[in-house]
């Protein structure tokens, strides 16, 4: 009796094994390993390098393009780290009379930007030391192109000499704060 019961159990178990084995789809797999090196980009393009205020009288305030921006800087970087766009006066500024002029009479502000970073939107006096005008956001540092648009203003003191004023500006894109 026990032998008979054991045989029945064995047949049932065998059937289960065959059923499981037959119902499992066979498959084979192969893996392929892929690599690529993405090159670094760190570039800046300025669309208009000449900032000419034209003729100014003592005491005048001249704002270039009052309702829009004067020039734009196209920045692109994909290093994955924060970068800054800085702005400074380049060289010594001389007035119409040939005398040096304080750079602070020239001011700049960021009108707007297409990036997701942090622009300086307040009027800021120029200086010979580069000042941060824009700090990149997450998308900016991942390779997205950011256009940073600037406005400029001249506040000519009452005791200054009237004449034509222009300024040369140095733009620097750097990952140093």
């Amino acid at each position: 009796m026990n032998m008979k019961r054991s045989a029945v159990v064995a047949i049932m178990a065998l059937s289960a094994v065959i059923f499981v084995s037959g119902s499992t789809a066979e498959q084979a797999t192969q893996d392929m390993y892929a690599t690529v090196t993405i090159n670094k980009v760190f570039s800046m393009v300025l669309d208009n390098a000449l900032i000419d205020f034209g003729y100014a009288q003592p005491g005048d305030t001249i704002e270039l393009k009052t309702s829009s921006y004067y020039n734009e800087v196209k920045c692109q970087a994909n290093k994955g780290t924060t970068w800054h766009l800085k702005i400074a006066v380049m060289g010594t500024i001389t007035g119409p009379d040939g005398n040096p002029v304080a750079p602070e009479i020239f001011k700049w502000q960021v009108f707007d930007s297409t990036g997701d970073g942090d622009p300086v939107k307040d009027w800021t006096p120029f200086s010979a030391t580069p000042k941060v005008a824009y700090t990149s956001g997450q998308s900016d540092m991942a390779g997205r192109e950011a256009l940073v648009r600037f406005k400029y203003k001249l506040d000519l003191p009452k005791d200054a000499t009237g004449g034509n004023y222009r300024v040369r500006v140095l733009y620097t894109m750097t990952d140093n704060p």
Binding site: A10, A13, L14, V17, I18, S21, G22, A25, E26, Q27, A28, T29, Q30, D31, M32, Y33, A34, T35, V36, T37, I38, N39, K40, V41, N78, K79, G80, S139, M141, A142, G143, R144, E145
Partner: protein, 152 residues
């Protein structure tokens, strides 16, 4: 019973990849590149079945191109079947047409009854990659899995 189990699971589906590395080298953002180091193709999968059952070749990205926390979308990574050797089955989408990889298994080839009796079917591929305009610089690596299976 154990011996019977081993006998029924004897592999009747076999697959061999002749070259399992795919190096796109250095690329710029926005650049596209196609790789076929053997001229017409990059590598060949040889599939053999003696089961007399329809089998399917699929592919999936099991690890997308990754570098640190950054990835390249798998849709930018593409495959093209350039030939199927003695195969009489159907290439999904057709030979010499290009399709994106996916994280879910995507059908590449469906066998013909003549493919299921031990004939080695050589399926040759080339690959392409479109680097997005916004992609962080670095060394990316990923893994593609080819699957030969009898269920769709």
């Amino acid at each position: 019973m154990m011996m019977l189990c081993v006998a029924t699971s004897d592999a009747a589906l076999q697959m061999n990849l002749d070259y399992n590395m795919l190096d796109f080298g250095a690329m710029n953002t926005g650049e596209s590149k196609e790789i076929s180091i053997k001229g017409t193709h990059h590598n060949t999968l040889t599939c053999t079945s003696t089961n007399n059952m329809t089998w399917y070749l699929k592919a999936q990205v099991v690890k997308p191109f990754s570098f640190m926390q950054y990835t390249i979308p798998e849709a930018n990574f593409k495959w093209t079947v350039v030939s199927v050797g003695a195969g009489k089955g159907i290439v999904n989408g057709g030979v010499n047409f290009t399709f994106p990889f996916s994280r879910t298994p995507t059908l590449i080839y469906t066998s013909d009854p003549d493919d299921n009796t031990g004939t080695a079917i050589d399926i040759s591929f080339r690959y392409s990659l479109d680097v997005p305009e916004n992609q962080v610089a670095g060394n990316y690596n990923g893994t593609v899995r080819f699957i030969m299976i009898e269920t769709l």
